[in-house]
Point group: C2
Chain length 315, copies 2
């Protein structure tokens, strides 16, 4: 017991326990977080995103090790919105069954889509707060892919690194277009491979289109597996943070992130209210069946359910 005291004493098991409680929307866990929330805000939260196969886990590990040499404490949350697993041994952990997990200054956690109530983005926000309160200097949020869920997740971050890799084919090129804007720093990993320079050039060209932005995201060449370019990448990450602070954009981004979180939490609460109420009364099933049978169109069904929702919110 006394998770609170243990967390403030940098006990990693207390952090893990509190994150699990929050994943389950445990009221006690929530009370602890609310009470300690004012102690958060000191960690530098870094998103690591990019397509599958880009080597994000390895890159995150190397960045973490570089920071450990400077005696900084580091937390890593590996988030997989498509995985049913949480907390345990998925992806991130599997790769990391190495010296990092033995290091007392490193906390590692996997989060999946299920195993917690509510959205994964909200669960990630809560975990960040816990690790921030624990006193982590750096918190890495690593995603598995780069879809809409991942975009929502990195909205919790101060700086986002978009990891690219040469030769991932046309589909990946198409994906890039929609997500370029979330990258504050770009890393071309496996840059000893053929086509790395072309990939970097393509990123630069895309960045050229975005003339509104004052911060020009740097594109760094790395070979994570050989520890090449890691220090330079870390420098770029810090440069972005300094730029944000100097231009009064840092507080703005954090306010924006907070706004996103509050909106998501409201949506989540309303959703539960609707579903609980409508499920209980089996109204949703009734209307869904009518829609499926083509007796009623879905838009009229929404009108019908909506009145019900309003009264549910009066509770």
């Amino acid at each position: 017991m006394d998770i609170e005291k243990r967390l403030l004493g940098k006990d990693k098991r207390a952090a893990a326990r509190l994150i699990s409680l929050l994943e389950n929307k445990d009221p006690e866990g929530l009370e602890i977080l609310k009470k300690l929330y004012h102690k958060s805000g000191n960690a530098f939260v870094i998103g690591i995103t990019g397509p599958p196969g880009a080597g994000k886990s390895t890159l995150t590990d190397k960045l973490a090790k570089a920071l450990r040499k400077q005696d900084k404490s580091v937390s890593i949350i590996a988030v997989d919105p498509t995985s049913p697993f949480t907390g345990g041994a998925i992806l991130g952990d599997r790769v990391r069954m190495n010296d990092l997990s033995m290091d007392s200054g490193v906390f590692i956690r996997s989060m999946g889509a299920r195993g917690h109530l509510g959205g994964i983005s909200e669960a990630t926000s809560a975990a960040i707060k816990v690790l921030d309160i624990m006193g982590s200097d750096y918190i890495f949020i690593e995603t598995v892919g780069v879809g809409q869920s991942e975009i929502d997740i990195v909205k919790n971050c101060d700086t986002t690194v978009m990891v690219m890799v040469p030769g991932l084919g046309d589909d990946i090129q198409a994906i890039k277009a929609g997500v370029m804007e979330i990258g504050d720093v770009f890393a071309v990993n496996k840059s000893d491979r053929d086509g790395a320079k072309r990939t970097a050039r393509e990123i630069e060209m895309m960045l050229d289109f975005n003339k509104d932005v004052k911060w020009r995201p740097p594109v760094k060449m790395v070979v994570a597996v050989d520890n090449q370019g890691i220090d330079e990448l870390l420098e770029s990450i810090h440069m972005h943070r300094t730029y944000m602070i100097d231009n009064e954009l840092f507080d703005e981004r954090r306010a924006n992130n907070a706004k996103n979180e509050v909106v998501e939490l409201i949506k989540e609460r309303i959703e539960h209210t609707i579903l609980d109420k409508s499920q209980k009364e089996e109204k949703l099933e009734y209307y869904a069946k009518r829609v499926a049978d083509r007796e009623m169109d879905p838009y009229s069904a929404v009108d019908a359910v909506f009145d019900d929702v309003k009264s549910a919110l009066q509770v």
Copy 2:
């Protein structure tokens, strides 16, 4: 004008126009859809999903061509939740600037994440209805990747084909675990490549775990680019449909899909109501700033905003 009459006369441009109207939540478009909704429900809606690079576009094209030989009309919606583009020349269309697009019995449409109001899953649902009303015998919904958004999208389908491919690396293997359950039929594409049999075996092993399910998803080997295994895959897709109908699961799935859609539409409407109202009053900004400044925790902010939301919903 008179989109309604033209749509019922199988005019593809009328369908395209109506889909655009619906993407923009145009009230007139919505009225047409509500009026004609009872004419929908006859098309067989097939989801084609899987990781980037699996060759989903090519496979969809070949399936469409096989159906055209049987004189069936076919619609293809290529959905990319991470692309900012819509309606125009992204991915799907680019690859398909071939004989298919010249065929009067084929309708092709791309949908991106933006360029329409509301969620992409709801926009896809609306487009399916339009093409169904137009009299398409088959509607293919093809996704670009396989994240959470894509899972939501294929919840609109009667049968979902999960396309795999040999040698996509460890990250893809990890992704598979969470999404296996959405596949009713599996296709191992590019099965002339090394490792295809191993990929098929791995899929079979994963399917072995799922003992609850009566329908055992078949795993078919295809080489889409050479038109190999396409007829056999199509047969499996039809077998799944027959199985669903024979076991009274078809109506159940459609009712479930309808329920998902109604819930999503309600969430969407509530979200707009909250955001409109809160933005206007700048309350959200006020609380977000307090949260970012650590003067208030986000959970208490939600409590504070919630009262506001309730009154907004009274409108």
